[in-house]
């Protein structure tokens, strides 16, 4: 009850924090798509490089977020950006690489070789094949990767409050330090809700962007 009262009283602040959180996740995943998808496509050309890149990305993702923030802070403080938005965004970009690169890579590798042969035999260039056949077929899986990245980054974004990046995690950190259940629950619920909503929204986007021919059966 108290929590609801708190939420009602602080709606503008919650909105503000929500916006910070969304921008943190949006920017990092946006950048990660721009880097991860081309990398995922490129490494389909070489098994050795694919193994290497995926290995590095999987090591990065196992590093606990606060530890990665911790390592980035002294490095970035060299350019005067030790605390705040930048280390958070960089860490989130790094975390988002694995799901996006891996899904892009596997999706393209899983395209039926017969389709690739048909495309080649009909006289498509490599780029035409990528654009007309491989990417449309891989798209649902790539979006799934983006989806995992977004959910992951919403969770990690909550921790970014401890390095001064704001976001919904602020309610949780204040709730903990002030042993204020109302703030604690406000933060926990809003960040969970954001994650669940983003998850379903991207699921919807995936359905919309998938060719109807792939949705059948």
């Amino acid at each position: 009850m108290e929590t609801i009262a708190f939420i009602m009283a602080n709606l503008p602040v919650i909105g503000q924090r929500m916006l910070e959180h969304v921008s943190l996740v949006g920017v990092s995943v946006g950048v990660a798509i721009l880097t991860g998808v081309p990398i995922g496509i490129l490494i389909t050309q070489s098994r050795a490089w694919a193994d290497r890149v995926l290995y590095v990305a999987s090591v990065i993702i196992t590093i606990p977020s606060i530890a990665l923030f911790g390592i980035l802070i002294p490095v970035l403080s060299l350019i005067g950006q030790g605390i705040g938005y930048l280390p958070a965004v960089i860490a989130l970009i790094l975390y988002a690489q694995l799901p996006i690169i891996r899904n892009t890579y596997t999706a393209i590798m899983n395209v039926d070789p017969a389709l690739r042969e048909a495309a080649r035999g009909m006289g498509m260039t490599t780029l035409e094949r990528l654009r007309r056949v491989e990417l449309p077929l891989a798209l649902p899986v790539i979006i799934n990767g983006v989806r995992s990245a977004v959910v992951l980054n919403i969770a990690i974004g909550a921790i970014a409050t401890y390095i001064g990046a704001g976001g919904l995690g602020t309610f949780i950190s204040r709730g903990i330090s002030q042993t204020d259940i109302r703030q604690l629950l406000t933060g926990a619920l809003s960040v969970s809700l954001l994650a669940i909503i983003a998850d379903y929204a991207l699921l919807g986007a995936q359905r919309l962007m998938t060719s109807p021919g792939l949705r059948l059966r």
């Binding site: 530890a67 911790g70 802070i73 002294p74 969770a155 390095i163 949780i172 604690l184 926990a188």
Partner: protein
Amino acid sequence: MAATGLQTAFRLLLITGVFACGAWFQANGLLPAILKHRSDVIYLIRQHLALAAVSGAIAIVVGIPLGVILTRPRFEMFADAVTQVVNLGTTIPTLALLALSMSFLGIGAPPVIFALFVLTLLPIVLNTIAGLRSVPQPLIEAARGMGMTPAQILRRVELPNAVFVILAGIRTALAINIGTVPLAFLIGGGGLGELIFTGIDLMEPSMLLAGAIPTALLAVFVDFLVGQIQFWLVPRGVNPLR
């Protein structure tokens, strides 16, 4: 030819990078400063690992039987519902889960272990269900046709064929677990997070790194270890990696 050239370039870059970092640390006087925290680090690593081990062990002991039960014919109807709920559960951010756990159980190790247990349990249950369901139906039919009891089928056919997927779940779960332990400090559970968070608050890079570097290495090492166990424990016939 170009590939091997790139390969050596890659390796050189890596070595130079590590070397440069080391040199920089040393020049800053950061390395000695980090080493000052050695005794703290060793104590906290122990605490860190204890939290992960206890919560992880409970989750494995509970999670696998739960997954098995949910794939038995009598309870199968619940499996989909449980999967749905668990999937939803995995989208809940870890910090939120810790916070919720604290709001019910207070401060200290118990809420941390409970939160870590829940986090770890979810992927284990999911993968146990998925692994058992992926066992080809003809195998089970053949086993039944040879006169195996349901318990024998489970032990001799289903579990051995699902073990790879189940272990993959345990690996994911433990990676999440060990990745979340640093947050335990926030609700009074101790662990290496103590050095990191305090280091951030005090703006003291040496303390920060004394926590962050072992935390990162520990997580990478545990994941590597579980990966090796998964690789060697799963028999060749059902191990896609071997």
